[in-house]
């Protein structure tokens, strides 16, 4: 009994730190073993020729120089950029507008919020299968609908010119996650700002433009960063849709390489061509590209992201 009453030799703060470390240790261990470890291994492999079957052979920077001369590397990068350039801003704007609508005080708004969020909880594989049926030129439901409007629907996933637009449309299906984050941001805007703006005679558009938008820039920033990373990691949906292609459809990344996204080409190099070293190089180049863009966004955030209560220069 006496010993439990003895004052600890460690200070309270020190003890709390130790407990904190003890609690986060499983995560840290997992991170080191399952994330940092494989990352370092792939960094090593990126300087080797490695086909999984034989031992890795050190080749220095050859994989990196080969990448520069690889036409399909540039092609896959351009496909990914093209998709990102359309899908990312479209997804951000679309989800923001939906969130603004879902922030209105109308009857049954919770049902609407649920309806818009639900699609985002469906797994990517199921979404891909669902949309491949919707887009099917012969038996899908989209083209007959377009026909009613007098528009001849394209082949979508079987037409190299329409495969990317189809994937962009499909991506809007999963904006529920963004909507929830925007909604939280919109509900955090102090109402007294709107009241003050109203007193000053601001119109609805002006309240949106000069109050809502600046006050929600932190969540826009957050969604932009996560969206950018997600877009450059785009894989599952394309894999599911194009892996069903027969030879006539050009196989994975088809038709006619129109969906050969960066990650699809990386996957092919790793698991179809057994160029695991080269695939590791691609993974690190992608990491650097995403890191570069993310830093750029962070750097630019000073000019367009407004944090309430933040003092400039701090």
């Amino acid at each position: 009994m006496q010993s439990s009453l003895k004052p600890s030799r460690l200070s309270l703060a020190r003890r709390e730190s130790l407990w904190a470390y003890a609690f986060i240790a499983p995560w840290i261990l997992g991170f080191i073993i399952f994330t940092v470890g494989p990352m370092l291994a792939s960094l090593f492999f990126s300087f080797t020729e490695y086909d999984v079957v034989s031992s890795p052979r050190w080749i220095g920077l050859k994989n990196y120089t080969n990448l520069i001369h690889d036409e399909l590397f540039w092609h896959s990068l351009s496909i990914t950029f093209r998709y990102a350039a359309i899908a990312l801003p479209l997804g951000l704007v679309f989800s923001y507008l939906i969130a603004v609508l879902l922030n209105q005080k109308i009857r049954g708004i919770n049902i609407w919020r649920t309806v818009y969020f639900l699609p985002s909880v469906i797994a990517g594989v199921a979404v891909a299968l669902l949309w491949s049926r919707i887009f099917d030129a012969r038996s899908g439901i989209l083209n007959p609908f377009l026909a009613q409007l007098g528009i001849k629907g394209p082949g979508w996933f079987s037409d190299p010119d329409w495969a990317i637009p189809a994937l962009v449309i499909m991506s809007l299906w999963g904006v529920g996650g963004n909507i929830i984050i925007y909604l939280a941001g919109l509900q955090g805007v102090p109402t007294d700002l709107y009241d003050a703006a109203k007193v000053d005679g601001a119109t609805a558009w002006q309240r949106f433009r000069y109050v809502t938008l600046p006050m929600t820039t932190p969540v826009i920033f957050y969604n932009l960063v996560l969206g950018l990373i997600g877009t450059f990691q785009y894989f599952t949906e394309v894999y599911v849709i194009s892996s069903g292609n027969s030879g006539t459809g050009g196989g994975l990344g088809g038709p006619a390489r129109s969906t050969l996204f960066y990650n699809i080409y990386l996957y092919q190099n790793a698991f179809r061509y057994f160029h695991m070293g080269y695939a590791s190089t691609m993974a690190w180049v992608l990491f650097i590209i995403v890191l570069g863009f993310t830093l750029l966004i962070f750097r630019s955030s000073d000019t367009w992201v407004y944090y309430e209560g933040q003092l400039k220069g701090r």
Binding site: S158, N245, T248, G250, G251, P255, A256, R257, R272
Partner: protein
């Protein structure tokens, strides 16, 4: 205290004596069975019916063998590469992989064990196997496995559609040279019908609203599509030393232009849009009854020739413009990964699976023709039960016209070259490019570049 100690020691001695006595009477410890895991998923074998049949096969083996236990590891086809490579790199290679087509043998060529030493050690007699089946597993530096089955190719045709069009069925006479690619085109156009009932030879035929196609070969890639056209290297896009690309041979160009015209000019072949519709609906090209002739292999017997709502038969593939008949073939085997443990036991299982007593059962699961001559009569009886009313001679005779070099056989950078060529095929089927010369010239340049890079580092 002393008395207690004495009692305890006495009890211990008695217990030891009792245990010793019992030990003699106890049954001998059973010999631990060595497990042989058979990785299934590279080709066929993952349909629910096939999984059940494989489990029954495993029960049959396990109940008759004391020292080896087999287990079929079923891997979804779309995951086979990642799972197999993960098992290899994790030091957990399966003992056997199969059934493997020629293409998956080629895809993972460097990972397979050479079984020549096993054959030589036992002086195993291979004379009962069909010669082509043995040859298809034999590469310059290794034998990848004992032959399991062959998948010859021929035309499946819908008799009802031929009857409706008032056309004679395709000849079953292998000597009839009038059955050539021109004739196939002519018949296929007459079998291609629009929503108004006009066929593709009619002047007012509506190509925008086709409801029935004359011909389909969409289950194969570029090499398979063009292997039958009589090029010097047949189904191989390189010279025999694998150093020069020959994908732009006149025969391949002629064949691909025939396909391109078939899709876009003569309209008897469905475009990529039609194929995608079938893929997404999960139906095969022949089963729905809207394709007159479907060029495929015996695996379609097991996969599609059940529950047809129409009458069907099979016929030889036509002669090519050079007056030769080539009907591409595939073959299955089981392979042993180099890194597998218990390879001797894997070899025993491979022998069992391909033995005369078992091979018919195994081939019925996968839809192949057993690679042993001695079981042909038994298998034929089985075919007659499973698929009544078709001309079985066509199946067996087609073996004689196999493509050699084979359309799936190993070449350097197999997967990369396969993808490059299939990209060209998708340009044709999607209509992005309709000129076969342009497509194959570009594809050939790409293949040559891949070969040059390969040889620069080998």
């Amino acid at each position: 205290m002393k008395k207690n100690l004495f009692n305890v020691l006495t009890l211990l001695v008695l217990a030891s004596a009792l245990l010793s006595a019992c030990a003699g009477a106890a049954p001998a410890t059973p010999v631990e069975k060595v497990k042989v895991v058979i990785f299934v998923g590279m080709g066929t074998g993952t349909d629910p019916d096939q999984v059940d049949a494989q489990n029954k096969l495993a029960e049959k083996f396990n109940s008759t063998h004391d020292n080896i236990e087999i287990e079929f590891l079923i891997v979804p086809h779309e995951e086979y590469a990642t799972r197999y490579l993960a098992m290899l790199s994790g030091g957990n290679a399966p003992q056997l992989v199969g059934p493997n087509g020629i293409s998956s043998v080629a895809e993972f060529f460097d990972t397979w064990e050479d079984i020549t030493p096993y054959i030589e050690a036992e002086k195993l007699d291979l004379s009962d196997f069909y010669g082509p089946a043995v040859a298809l597993n034999q590469y310059p530096d290794k034998n990848t496995g004992l032959p399991l089955g062959l998948y010859p190719s021929y035309l499946y045709y819908n008799k009802d559609l031929f009857d409706a069009a008032g056309l004679d069925y395709p000849t079953h006479d292998f000597e009839d040279k009038s059955w050539n690619m021109d004739k196939l085109r002519e018949v296929a156009m007459q079998l291609t019908v629009d929503k108004n009932g006009k066929n593709a030879t009619d002047a007012d035929f509506d190509p925008e609203n086709i409801v029935q196609y004359g011909y389909d070969d969409s289950w194969d890639g570029m090499r398979g599509t063009l292997a039958d056209w009589g090029a010097e290297n047949v189904g191989r896009p390189t010279t025999s030393d694998y150093k020069t690309a020959v994908a732009d041979s006149p025969e391949w160009i002629q064949g691909l232009q025939w396909v391109s015209d078939g899709v876009w000019k003569d309209h008897f072949i469905g475009s990529a849009e039609v194929q995608a519709g079938r893929d997404s609906a999960g139906v095969d090209p022949f089963g729905p009854g809207t394709t007159g002739m479907f060029y495929s292999h015996t695996w379609y017997l097991a996969e599609g020739l059940h529950d047809l709502t129409f009458s069907a038969d099979i016929a030889p593939y036509p002669y090519n413009p050079k007056g030769e008949r080539i009907a591409r073939i595939d073959a299955d085997n089981f392979t042993i990964p180099k890194d597998a443990k218990n390879k001797q036991q894997a070899w025993e299982v491979m022998k069992w699976l391909t033995s005369p007593e078992i091979i018919v059962d195994v081939c019925r699961i996968y839809g192949c023709i057993p690679a042993r001559k001695s079981v042909q009569a038994k298998f034929l009886e089985q075919l007659k039960t499973d698929y009544p009313g078709i001309d079985y001679d066509v199946i067996f005779k087609s073996i004689d016209y196999l493509d050699k070099p084979n359309n799936e056989e190993w070449i350097p950078e197999w997967g990369k070259i396969e993808d490059a060529l299939n990209n060209g095929l998708s340009l044709i089927y999607s209509g992005e490019e309709k000129d076969a010369t342009k497509v194959l010239t570009d594809s050939n340049a790409e293949v040559q570049k891949i070969l040059d890079e390969y040889w620069a580092s080998h």
